[in-house]
């Protein structure tokens, strides 16, 4: 068939137009398919902070997860979505890459790296708030099934006929861990020289043994779970080489309660942790799973103004309930001895923690509170010291020695000052809490009261405080402890972290407490006495 030049041109042009229009149509069609596919992908119904279902992608939780945890996390995610109806979007990658992505984009609600050294890096950059421990991994030597090279001890790794591969200490957590452990014992240089190659990830190292490129490789034991063709050899030299797997909650998450909900599921003793165990990890204790866990906290009344707001914020962020009982510590101890077992106890003084040490074996001293003499503003009775409380006709109020720490300490102070009998003659009321004394002072039914400085923190315009000098036992120490029987030790631990936060310490200071547990604010916090009235000296 022959064409004229015009026909050729027409054919060429029509072909050009056809292909151009066709390609635009094809592009449009494929964009439509992708957009449609994006909305039709398998997604469970999501729920908002209030529990209301929402369908928007922006409400979906985003977890940045180390690729090495993919198998175990996918299994847990399936269970979670089926059980709760909430959905989680998981993005896998190398831990360092994920960390960089979070840093640049600010996206992501949770971060689960291969080990917690990456969480430390994220914390140093203020990217992570809460951290929930999940499992541990141990450094071992991976060899082919049957151990054909008969590698039994450290010196075998140095043999010329053993091809050893390691993870790069600069790029992979296991490499860094092994280097740190062996350097302490002076063994690292020998092992480094005997290493044939350093790989960037721990799975690359294990893969080398699988494909026969290496005879031995140092890996985490949990990494070997999906490799039936490999076995682990434990070496004494690597016994201290353990690493922690934890999940961190992004400091910038807009969905803290949802993020912590999934994080609690991951680390729950009866949900996520058994799956981790199945995959070869050694797991931590973990909390019992509950959709909305309820934590019970007993605390001395004096601590209420210092911790209440922190607890309210904690409940909101975690999406949990904290049932708290504030009362005189003597009463709280009686309740505990009669069978009530809170998850945590924040005592007014160590003495009242010691009385229930069987329930709370490990306590931490947190703050201190000073016993003072409270009087009406302007100090009309001119009270300057404990001795003045013995004056005839003075109406004095103190705490009850059996019902609260304050009363018990008050009696000790009187004894140490050598005037217990004389002052008790003037004592007209003994109450279980310091707040009651403050109220009675303000109504005029008392002339003076011996109470904590923190009891009067909110009454600076009505009351003056007089410091008790030279009596050591006039200061109470408030310890915190989590019950050994608590089903929510991690949750209680996170509440304690909030109580120890900088913001919380500032509240303690404003309420007249002296912070004792590390960090800041070690100076006495006499806001009330300094601003309202000079402190009188006890003679």
């Amino acid at each position: 068939m022959f064409f004229t030049s015009d026909e050729w041109e027409a054919r060429a042009m029509s072909k050009t137009l056809l292909v151009m229009i066709g390609s635009v149509g094809l592009l449009g069609g494929m964009f439509w398919m992708l957009s449609r596919g994006d909305t039709r992908r398998p997604t469970m119904v999501t729920r908002s902070e209030t529990g209301e279902p929402t369908g928007s992608d922006s409400d979906e939780l985003i977890l940045f997860c180390a690729a090495s945890n993919q198998a175990v996390v996918e299994a847990i995610r399936e269970d979670y979505e089926a059980e709760t109806g909430r959905s989680v979007q998981i993005q896998y990658g190398a831990s360092q890459t994920l960390l960089s992505q979070m840093e640049v984009t600010g996206a992501g609600d949770l971060f689960l790296p291969a080990d917690d050294s990456y969480l430390k890096m994220a914390r140093d950059k203020s990217m992570i708030d809460e951290e929930l421990k999940i499992a541990r991994m141990r450094a071992v030597v991976a060899v082919a099934k049957g151990n054909p090279k008969n590698i039994q001890n450290f010196s075998d790794l140095l043999r010329d006929d053993v091809r050893l591969v390691q993870a790069n200490p600069e790029a992979a957590a296991v490499g860094k861990l092994v280097r740190d452990v062996l350097r302490r014992d002076g063994l690292w240089n020998d092992l480094e020289q005997a290493t044939d190659a350093f790989r960037t990830t721990v799975t690359d190292v294990a893969n080398d043994v699988v494909v026969g490129a290496a005879d031995a490789a140092i890996v985490f034991d949990a990494v070997l779970h999906p490799y039936p063709q490999l076995e682990a050899v434990q070496l004494d030299e690597l016994a201290e080489g353990t690493s922690q797997v934890s999940v961190g909650v992004s400091a910038g998450t807009m969905r803290p309660a949802s993020a912590l909900h999934f994080a609690r599921y991951l680390s729950a003793a009866d949900r996520g942790l058994p799956v981790y165990t199945e995959h070869g990890f050694e797991v931590d204790r973990g909390d019992r799973w509950s959709d909305v866990p309820e934590l019970t906290v007993y605390a001395g009344s004096m601590l209420r103004p210092a911790i209440e707001e922190t607890i309210v914020q904690f409940e909101s962020r975690e999406g949990v309930r904290v049932s708290r009982a504030y009362n005189g510590c003597g009463i709280l101890v009686s309740q505990m001895k009669s069978g009530q077992h809170p998850d945590a106890y924040f005592a007014c003084d160590s003495e009242f923690m010691n009385q229930v040490s069987d329930l709370f074996p490990e306590s931490v001293p947190v703050s201190q509170n000073e016993l003072v003499i409270l009087v009406e503003k302007g100090n009309p009775h001119k009270i300057a010291s404990l001795r003045d409380l013995t004056r005839d006709g003075l109406r004095v109020g103190i705490g009850h020695e059996k019902q609260c720490a304050m009363g018990w300490i008050t009696q000790n102070v009187f004894k140490e000052g050598g005037m217990q009998q004389e002052i008790m003659v003037n004592v007209t009321v003994q109450t279980p809490t310091g707040d009651m004394l403050v109220n009675q002072l303000r109504t005029g039914s008392l002339d003076a009261a011996v109470a904590y400085l923190s009891n009067a923190a909110g009454s600076a315009e009505f009351l003056d405080a007089i410091q008790i000098q030279d009596i050591q036992c006039s200061t109470a120490t408030q310890p915190w402890a989590v019950s050994k029987d608590s089903e929510y030790p991690s949750l209680a631990g996170r509440l304690f972290e909030k109580i120890c936060s900088t913001e919380s310490q500032e509240v303690f200071a404003a309420e007249g407490f002296r912070w004792q547990l590390g960090q800041l604010n070690s100076a006495p916090s006499n806001t009330f006495t300094r601003e309202s009235s000079p402190v009188s000296r006890d003679e």
């Binding site: 072909k15 050009t16 390609s23 398919m33 992708l34 996918e74 998981i90 990658g93 990830t201 990494v223």
Partner: protein, 266 residues
């Protein structure tokens, strides 16, 4: 010489044979029935094709421009086009991430105090999310694939004698008409080749996708990231099975493109 060439072919065949020996038919079937791999297969096919078509659309006029015209800054344009080819893949992904999520370049300089961000604007104002969604996959693939397509199209136009276009212009054609009616119909083979190279490059793209689009199952997971994920959890069999799936997919698509090219050239 023939022996040298044959050794290359032999190397490729041996690589495929080694992969086939490493996995099994059962493993291959198991990989194919996994919903996440089916999703990755579909996303790979669509995103690579979109990236390839867009690349040819962009590369054809740009390649023509670089081949036919001399203008100030031409060398600079020529060099900029090559940057995605020489840039390490992870760097390209990180650069895309920074471009979309950090204050837009010069925005603070042009409008002091402004921290206008491209991703926030697209998401909040336009309602089109890019990062960690399929558009990020396409963009990451396009950024690299287009550079190869431009290079191919430039060589194509270099090899087409400009005399026919000059004659067309003496007969009354404008520059655009000369391009559309004379140069373009002669460049079909080049366009097919550019599309093929762009598609193949997009298929193998991994680093920028991992950084810019992530590897989220049922959302941004393409076959190259599937291989990475399977390797990360020690599933070597599955990784090899997916790799072979990619090889099969590439062979089929490349054959279709060759047949299409032959048909258009006829």
């Amino acid at each position: 010489m023939g022996g040298l060439s044959a050794s290359f072919l032999l190397l490729i065949v041996l690589l495929l044979a080694a992969d086939l020996m490493f996995t099994s038919a059962g493993e291959f079937r198991a990989a194919l029935v996994k919903p996440e791999i089916q999703y990755a297969f579909r996303l790979t096919l669509l995103s690579c094709t979109i990236a390839a078509i867009l690349s040819v659309w962009v590369a054809t006029p740009l390649g023509y421009l670089l081949s036919r015209y001399r203008f100030p800054g031409r060398s600079l344009v020529d060099t900029i086009v090559d940057i995605p080819i020489v840039l390490p893949p992870l760097v390209l992904g990180l650069s895309l991430l920074i471009l979309f999520h950090q204050p837009f370049p010069f925005s603070n300089w042009l409008f002091p105090g402004s921290d206008w961000k491209l991703d926030s604007w697209l998401r909040d104002e336009v309602g089109f999310t890019v990062t960690y969604r399929w558009p990020a996959v396409v963009l990451a693939q396009f950024a690299v694939a287009c550079a190869f397509a431009v290079r191919t199209m430039r060589v194509t136009f270099d090899q087409i004698d400009p005399r026919a276009e000059d004659v067309a212009r003496t007969l009354g054609c404008t520059r655009a008409q000369a391009f559309l009616r004379v140069a373009l119909p002669q460049s079909w083979r080049g366009m097919i080749t550019a599309g093929t190279i762009a598609w193949a490059r997009a298929l193998g793209e991994f680093g920028p996708i991992l950084v810019f689009a992530g590897a989220t199952r049922f959302r941004t997971e393409v076959l190259s990231t599937t291989v990475f994920l399977e390797l990360s959890v020690g599933q070597l069999d599955a990784a090899v099975a997916v790799s072979l799936l990619m090889v099969a997919m590439a062979i089929v698509v490349l054959l279709i493109l060759r047949l299409l090219g032959a048909g258009l050239s006829a």
